[in-house]
């Protein structure tokens, strides 16, 4: 197992975990969020291929209600 940080929470993942797999483990529908990994915004078509590196800092962001 290895550690990453997602929205400031520490998470344990197996090595070679892709972004899409991580999202699905969290219960997040991939098309409702977008992701910043180590400060870089990840394009949607890279969700399936991006392998999360050790110590990655993820930001999961979505639109919410606001005025």
């Amino acid at each position: 197992m290895m550690q990453i940080v997602c929205n400031d929470e520490k998470k344990e993942i197996r090595p070679e975990t892709t972004l899409i797999a991580f999202l699905s483990e969290l219960g997040v529908k991939p098309d409702t969020v977008f992701v910043e990994c180590n400060g870089v915004i990840i394009k949607r078509d890279e969700y399936e291929t991006l392998v999360l590196p050790e110590g990655a800092r993820l930001e999961l962001i979505r639109f919410v209600g606001g005025g």
Binding site: E9, G27, K29, T32, R62, V64, G65, G66, G67
Partner: protein
């Protein structure tokens, strides 16, 4: 018809998506309002409730999303949020708000102007939320803002248009559309803004927290339409000073 940055809108009422009791009520209210543009905020996914995606109830074909930068306290934070919003598929449209004072949520004019300059260069369609300061409106316009959004009164106060005098000057001077935002607590406030010649109004709280948000949304839609109609029809002006019916101004010197 209202045109902002080349896009036309049939409705001059813009909606907000915050503070509704449920996504269902929000959707029904926004449908009833007839509005075509709604503001949305950007937030981190709540990992405790990861499936909680209220925006999915809204048809993106029907509503243009206007992501805001709420929460930003300075230009740098606003620019970061704007870039994230665009990456999130929010398009180029942006309601820029920079509110360093958490108590009043009043916008910071200096940081707002700075952020506008940066974001316009990056290709955003920037609609800055601003205090009702006419010179600031012109500076934002000159910096490339697609519209200006002066406040009627502070966010969420429902006080109506306390800044009428300045908003009138902004409407008179601006080349870009003027959208009165914030503080509109009743349909009559929205009607007043439209009668003054505002191009549109943005309403969130007053609809979201109404006893019946769906009916209130309809009421605002009607008020906006009535106010616009009155503006276009040409209001009978109030007298600002009593004019003598037989003026004493002497013109005897004329030949």
């Amino acid at each position: 018809m209202l045109t902002i940055a080349g896009r036309t809108f049939r409705s001059r009422l813009f909606g907000g998506t915050g503070k509704f009791s449920s996504p269902k009520v929000m959707k029904e209210a926004l449908d009833a309002s007839g509005c075509e543009m709604v503001t949305v905020a950007l937030r981190r996914v709540d990992l405790a409730n990861p499936a909680d995606d209220i925006m999915s109830v809204l048809d993106r074909k029907k509503f243009l999303f206007l992501p805001n930068t709420s929460g930003a306290r300075d230009a740098a934070e606003a620019v970061r949020l704007a870039r994230l919003a665009r990456a999130a598929g929010g398009g180029e449209w942006l309601k820029l708000e920079v509110t360093p004072d958490p108590r009043t949520l009043l916008p910071d004019p200096i940081e707002t102007l700075k952020a506008t300059e940066i974001l316009v260069k990056e290709g955003f369609i920037v609609l800055p939320y601003m205090n009702a300061d006419p010179v600031l409106a012109l500076r934002l316009q000159d910096a490339g803002a697609a519209a200006v959004m002066p406040l009627g009164s502070p966010i969420g106060t429902n006080q109506g248009i306390l800044t009428a005098f300045q908003i009138a000057i902004i409407i008179e001077q601006a080349r870009v559309p003027v959208v009165v935002d914030a503080g509109l607590g009743a349909p009559s406030h929205a009607a007043q803004a439209m009668e003054m010649g505002a191009d549109a109004v943005l309403v969130n709280t007053a609809i979201a927290v109404a006893g019946d948000p769906v009916r209130m949304a309809r009421a605002f839609a009607l008020a906006v339409e009535a106010g616009r109609e009155a503006y276009e029809a040409g209001l009978g002006e109030r007298r600002e000073d009593a004019a003598a019916s037989s003026p004493e101004t002497g013109l005897d010197f004329l030949r």
